[in-house]
């Protein structure tokens, strides 16, 4: 068995398990949705099939037992119950455990597998008499969103004195409208003249034609408090089974069915060659309101049927289409190329200014390209909510395991980020949340002792901020223990004994490789891998990470992530003949650097800017670029982890739309570069990785 294939299976299985978990949690809320059951079944089936194919026989045979039960559920022989969902979640975890066991080489706990399988077997009817009866409270066809639309005819005739009991028929009618497409006709035939009218009695009655998938019970619920003081008839007029005719009954048939007209009367009328409705009216057999409501029913059901037919035809051509991510990536790449060529066109147009026609075309192309770029990138945007919802289970399970009570709240789930960014964000967020649960939030007892509410809170929020998204993970736990971190850092020789560090600098130490203050290693965290991985992952996304903490008030970690990885606003600079770009988001300001100022630094690369010392890195020296620097160079001052640092370049050229191209595999190890871009004139400019440059500069003697 090839490792590559096994790895592919593991990757796929993880995705499937994530999907499974989501489906199960959804199924817990909508037990009657057979679509979800089908989804669960298919996922189990795929895991089983590919597991067997790649030699994960334990997973295959385990999943087979689960699949058997779901086959029964799918066929309606077994109802979805709380017990089934719990077991299925446990099964999902066992599959994951087996997957991880295959990776680590240590066998998974077979006994726990057995327990889960026994649980499933006991659910199968006829196998074990002692199996508890699954919860069958919810009848499948009623609560399910997938239930068919049924059209009802409702005649609601309140007693005259209904207002005296405080009933407002309007609110009942409104409730009916909430159930589905609805047409209401008030019948006014019992209305009186003003002299005869008792204004506090009800003279109206209503015919309602309602199409709903909520079922008869929902209709009865609307009238539950008035059922004793009204005449109520509810009849099914169209349940979608009689689809042979696209239209609907003739008007006369409806009136007869309702008892408003007799067949004999209708036959008599049909003898005359006039429109039936007018005839019935003229003959005085039915009143106009009755007729209107019958006409409305006819029209309503016709429309519902037509809609159903057209829905069936266009089910595939719905309002959204599914496109593979590869195609989107290709599109974004092409747009990237276009942006590059457009920059070149603008450049040429600038040089040939005399040709005003060309300039205006170039400007038009620029506008269109910008729109196209924004749109193409927008297509790849996904709401971060899906990632957030995964953490609900994480928090639920982990807090239970550690005996803590923690509530996860989320905000800004609709915030959109590039698909590739979201994928890479998952792991760092898991690490941070795990840390908050394990180290941050205290046990209920400890919290009570501190006078805090018993259950802790973790708040996950995402918000747009310019061209970035800020993701905040805030807990109301113990906060970072500055002394413990300092002691541990000294013990691990991360900082020298007696180093004078600000709180902020100490907080940053938690991102040092191998750092952990946990006294013992728990299953959750404490192994000291985590926060440095988080930092690496976030920096890999060209993002930054910020920590704030207050003792006993909690910790707040803020991730600043760029919206997209494909195209960035940047600053173009030149050193010698080479050009470089740096992300504009990090740039604070550009100032001049004269030879005299360099001399004043006495060999140290420090510059006085508005009475503050700013360290700088002469890039010409660092990159060993031949030639002599101009007499007046420029310093680009950047924000880096809350500090201001400078990069010395020959000239600053200006802002630039940078389409990021990755460096080839050969150059991926080169420090200080995060990629490359193609400029308008076709030459290549390297993208500076500012944090890496300063890390390298700090290491130099």
């Amino acid at each position: 068995m090839s490792d590559a294939f096994a790895q592919a299976f593991k990757d796929e299985a993880r995705e499937l398990l994530a999907d499974l978990e989501e489906a199960l949690l959804e199924m817990e809320e909508n037990p009657a949705d057979l679509g979800l059951v089908g989804r669960v079944f298919r996922t189990m089936h795929t895991i089983k099939g590919s597991g067997a194919m790649f030699g994960f026989d334990d997973i295959a045979s385990f999943t087979h037992n689960v699949e058997t039960v779901y086959d029964l559920v799918r066929n309606g022989e077994l109802a979805v119950s709380k017990q089934l969902v719990n077991l299925s979640l446990a099964a999902r975890d066992r599959i994951l455990a087996m997957l991880e066991a295959a990776e680590s080489g240590q066998p998974a706990d077979a006994q726990r597998n057995e327990e889960v399988i026994r649980g499933f077997k006991s659910l199968v009817p006829g196998r074990a008499g002692d199996a508890p009866e699954p919860d069958r409270k919810v009848a499948p066809e009623e609560a399910a969103p997938a239930a068919p639309m049924v059209t009802y005819r409702i005649r609601f005739k309140p007693e005259g004195g209904i207002f005296a009991s405080g009933v407002n028929p309007l609110s009942l009618l409104r409730e009916l409208q909430e159930l589905g497409p609805c047409r209401i006709v008030a019948n006014t035939c019992e209305m009186q003249t003003l002299d005869a009218l008792d204004p506090e009695l009800c003279y109206l009655y209503w015919d309602v034609i309602l199409s709903t998938s909520a079922g008869r019970d929902a209709i009865d619920d609307v009238f539950i408090f008035v059922v004793d003081c009204c005449e109520l008839t509810v009849t099914v007029v169209d349940d979608g089974t009689d689809e042979a005719a696209g239209g609907y009954k003739k008007l006369g048939e409806i009136l007869i069915e309702r008892g408003d007209l007799t067949p004999q009367q209708m036959d008599e009328l049909l003898g005359k060659q006039k429109k039936f409705g007018e005839l019935a009216l003229e003959a005085g057999l039915v009143n106009a309101a009755t007729l209107t409501s019958a006409l409305v029913e006819q029209q309503h059901v016709k429309e519902m049927r037509q809609e159903r037919q057209s829905q069936a035809q266009t089910q595939e051509a719905a309002s959204s289409i599914r496109v593979s991510a590869d195609k989107l990536d290709l599109l974004v790449n092409l747009v990237g190329e276009l942006v590059t060529v457009q920059a070149r066109l603008s450049l040429v147009a600038q040089e040939l200014k005399r040709h005003s026609e060309l300039v205006s075309v170039a400007e038009e192309v620029e506008r269109l390209t910008n729109d196209l770029r924004d749109n193409a990138l927008d297509i790849r945007m996904l709401p971060i909510g899906a990632t957030f919802s995964k953490f609900k289970r994480l928090v639920r399970d982990l807090s239970a395991e550690l005996g803590k009570e923690i509530e996860l709240t989320t905000e800004g789930a609709e915030t959109e980020l590039d698909k590739t960014v979201i994928e890479k964000l998952n792991d760092p967020l898991v690490h941070i949340i795990r840390n908050s649960i394990d180290h941050g939030v205290e046990t209920p007892e400890a919290r009570m002792a501190k006078g805090k509410p018993r259950s802790g809170k973790i708040h996950l929020a995402a918000v747009h901020s310019g061209d970035s998204v800020l993701i905040t993970i805030r807990d109301d736990g113990a906060g970072l223990n500055v002394d413990a971190i300092r002691a541990k850092a000294i013990e691990r020789k991360i900082i020298p004994q007696g180093a004078d560090l600000s709180d902020r600098e100490i907080w940053q130490l938690i991102f040092a490789p191998g750092f952990s203050t946990a006294a013992k290693v728990t299953s959750v965290s404490g192994r000291g891998v985590g926060m440095d991985v988080v930092k690496q992952a976030i920096e890999g996304l060209r993002g930054s990470i910020d920590v704030k903490s207050e003792p006993d008030r909690g910790t707040c970690i803020t991730l600043k992530i760029p919206l997209t990885l494909a195209i960035i606003e940047s600053l173009l600079v030149q050193i010698g003949k080479d050009r470089f770009v740096m992300p504009l988001a990090m740039v604070d300001e550009c100032i001049l650097l004269t030879e005299k100022e360099i001399e004043q630094g006495h060999g140290r690369d420090l510059l006085l800017v508005r009475e503050q010392l700013v360290p700088y890195v002469p890039l010409r020296k660092m990159f060993r670029i031949q030639g002599k620097a101009p007499a007046i160079q420029q310093v680009v001052i950047c924000q880096l982890e809350g500090k201001r640092v400078g990069l010395v370049v020959d000239w600053v050229i200006g802002e630039h739309q940078t389409v990021i191209k990755s460096l080839g595999r050969m150059y991926q190890q080169v420090e200080g570069m995060s990629g490359a871009t193609i400029l308008g004139d076709g030459s290549v400019a390297l993208i500076l990785d500012i944090p890496a440059i300063f890390k390298a500069a700090e290491k130099e003697p």
């Binding site: 207002f163 028929p169 008030a186 003249t193 003003l194 309602v208 009216l281 106009a288």
Partner: protein, 120 residues
């Protein structure tokens, strides 16, 4: 609760009834009295509903009853003053219709949707 106000002004040719506030069960009794007075003048009645801020089933019934009275006594009665809020409630109550009721021989029903007369 906003009290209903009725202003009955007798013009040379017609009687204008300006209704404002809420037309609900709490004041339909009083409204009925004032409307009866308006019809008592024997001139065409114009009901101006622009100032009505709310209506319930009893209010709608009252308007309907005015129409019946007008047909019964042969006194023309019209509704003026377009009122979106009122129209929305009438819609919920299922008042709009293609043809008027049995008594509506001349097609003067307030609720007909096939004429320009609909002001509600």
């Amino acid at each position: 609760m906003e009290a209903a106000q009725v202003k009955v002004s007798r013009k040379k040719e017609r009687t204008v009834v300006t209704l404002s506030g809420e037309m609900i069960i709490a004041n339909v009794g009083e409204l009925r009295q004032r409307l009866l007075q308006a019809f008592a003048a024997g001139k065409p009645v114009e009901l101006c509903v622009a100032g009505v801020t709310g209506i319930d089933v009893t209010g709608l019934q009252l308007l309907c009853s005015c129409h019946r009275t007008s047909v019964d006594r042969g006194i023309p009665c019209t509704v003026t003053g377009h009122n979106e809020a009122l129209a929305a409630i009438a819609e919920v109550a299922g008042m709009p219709r293609l043809k008027g009721c049995v008594t509506d021989v001349d097609g003067t029903c307030f609720w007909r949707t096939d004429t320009d007369m609909v002001t509600l």
